[in-house]
């Protein structure tokens, strides 16, 4: 993985690429590529490093979250430098992620996990489409667009694929709430009963 990273950095010095560590026992680390350089890095991976087979394309939804970190603050107390530990709460904004699993059929190696992130989850949800590089991404990027709402710029035919055309939301998002059009139940109970009652009281 590090040799791939070095090769990319040597060939494309302007590209922003970093290594994302995978703490799991499988230790399949991944490359985080900035959306602007995605297409160039993908072409380089295919043409120069032999990653000719784009196996899996998908999206991941990361909600905004708060992380508690302990940082030590330097302070001079009575003339002497002292380090005081302090707990800081940091906000990590939410984003969507497009994940590509690449293999090399010619070299029989892989998988190489390549990820690109969007700016946020609402307005800036664009990453470059890699369908011009690997045709196999076509339907899978459409699926990620349909279910996650990631816009793939440069995709030849970016339409919904599994949900119907008039559908508004993106059901694989973590905060997706199913519309309250539950099927008719002769004897509503539990959650459905609570919903039906709430609706009756509202009207």
């Amino acid at each position: 993985m590090t040799d791939v990273l070095q090769a990319i950095r040597a060939a494309l010095p302007a590209a922003t690429v970093e290594l994302i560590n995978n703490p799991g026992p499988g230790a399949q680390h991944s490359l985080l590529v900035s959306a602007n350089d995605g297409r160039a890095v993908a072409k380089f991976l295919r043409d120069s490093l032999g990653f000719d087979f784009c196996s899996n394309v998908t999206g991941v939804d990361w909600l905004p979250r708060k992380v508690q970190e302990t940082v030590s603050r330097k302070e001079s107390v009575e003339g002497a430098g002292k380090e005081i530990p302090e707990t800081v709460e940091r906000d990590i904004p939410g984003f969507l992620e497009a994940v590509y699993h690449l293999y090399s059929i010619s070299k029989k190696s892989g998988p190489l996990t390549m990820r690109m992130r969007t700016g946020d989850r609402a307005g800036d949800v664009t990453v470059p489409s890699l369908t011009p590089v690997w045709k196999s991404a076509e339907f899978q990027e459409r699926e990620a667009y349909d279910l996650f709402g990631i816009r793939f710029e440069g995709h030849p035919d970016l339409r919904r694929i599994l949900m119907w055309d008039g559908f508004a939301d993106h059901p694989m998002r973590k905060d997706y709430a199913a519309p309250d059009d539950c099927e008719y139940e002769p004897t509503p109970h539990d959650e459905t009963l609570a919903r039906v009652k709430a609706r009756q009281e509202a009207t």
Binding site: N22, G24, D52, N56, S136, F139, I161
Partner: protein, 368 residues
């Protein structure tokens, strides 16, 4: 009819040769296809969302319903990905059983494929019934082992659910010995058949470079002459202990895709013979592995196997809780359809059915 004299025809969603509810909007110039748009989603139930709201173990029976012809290989792919994610060892005996049931699944998938393709070509029923007669014998074995013919729900993280019943291995050995006779019979009936050759040979050839770039995997990829079998490349499970060949096709046309299944089934029988004679005694499941209340460590993993229809992969992200944070199925049936339009352009309408049949899809997996 539009001003340029082309006709739009909607094939499906209910059509015997679309192998389920799948629709193709085809634009025809005379009988020649000039445009084809596949339409998916009639069987969509958001399998991935369901799995993300379930415990890790509870998704196992759902995987049966992806490619419902081959539930055991779906189980295997999911178990393999979870074992990668959590670093679980599989016991020796379970590995052998996985190979045996996995290869039996491949054999019965390829047998029914032969029947389905013949049906697509207009040989209604007869060929399919010959194939199903043999498939039923394998399903009987599955039923004796797992309790279900098709929805087996058999594998567990670190092993399998239950041990082989008494006499099962003998029955399997007998089946494996008798199966080549069926393949010989099929070949004697079909391979040299003039109509079959005319309908398959030279139809929709696919070059190796296009197959790789278009994400074709499994028999479709090898029919185009690419030497790539995940059983050999990854050597997952214990496949590197068995001797088998990887058949390849010269041209990648429908005939190669058809014949490759016959050859692959023969190689699978080879593996089965070796696995049945080599299976050791021992525990069926890793005693350290946890099923209920299972919480894998934080991380992610992509695990894949050589499914009967192509590369079946599972991409899992764990946040350390009892449910997957992200659960993704890489469906070979859907991704193999990426090249469908490219293959069909310029062919006749009647060939579209054969081309679709030669790719071998199951809609439960395409739409998920």
């Amino acid at each position: 009819m539009s001003p340029d004299r082309t006709i739009d025809v909607s094939l499906g969603p209910q059509h015997p040769s679309t192998h389920g509810v799948f629709r193709m909007n085809v634009t025809l110039d005379g009988e020649t296809v000039v445009k084809l748009r596949p339409i998916f989603g009639y069987l969509h139930r958001n399998h991935e969302k369901i799995a993300e709201n379930n415990s890790w173990l509870a998704s196992m029976p759902y995987t049966d319903r992806l490619d419902y012809i081959c539930s055991l290989t779906n189980n295997w792919a999911y178990a393999l990905a979870v074992e990668k994610l959590a670093g679980i060892e599989v016991t020796e005996r379970a590995e052998y059983i996985r190979v045996i049931v996995g290869e039996l699944t491949r054999v019965q998938n390829h047998a029914s494929f032969l029947g389905f393709v013949l049906g697509d070509m207009g040989a209604w029923g007869t060929a399919l019934m010959y194939a199903f007669r043999e498939r039923e014998k394998i399903l009987d074995l599955f039923e004796a082992l797992t309790g279900a013919r098709m929805m087996c729900n058999y594998m567990r993280f670190g092993g399998c659910r239950c041990d082989l019943p008494t006499g099962w291995l003998d029955a399997a050995r007998k089946l494996v010995e008798g199966f080549p006779a069926f393949l010989d019979e099929m070949e004697a009936l079909l391979t040299g058949n003039e109509i079959l050759l005319a309908r398959l040979q030279g139809v929709a050839p696919l070059s190796a470079a296009r197959a790789i770039n278009g994400g074709m995997s499994g028999p479709g990829l090898r029919a185009s002459g690419v030497d790539y079998d995940i059983r050999k490349v990854d050597g997952y499970g214990i496949y590197n202990r068995f001797h088998f060949r990887v058949p390849r096709g010269p041209a990648g046309d429908c005939y190669d895709r058809f014949m490759l299944r016959v050859l692959e089934a023969r190689e699978s029988l080879n593996i089965l013979k070796q696995a049945i004679s080599g299976i050791p005694d021992g525990p069926i499941i890793n005693p350290k592995s946890k099923q209920r209340g299972f919480r894998p460590p934080v991380g992610e993993a992509y695990g894949r196997i050589e499914g009967p229809k192509g590369e079946l992969g599972f991409y899992l992200i764990s946040d350390g809780s009892g449910r997957p944070y992200r659960y993704r199925v890489r469906p070979p049936s859907l991704i193999n359809l990426t090249l469908l339009e490219e293959l069909c352009l310029g062919t006749k309408l009647a060939d579209v059915m054969v081309i679709l049949g030669s790719i071998d899809i199951v809609l439960g997996e395409v739409d998920r």
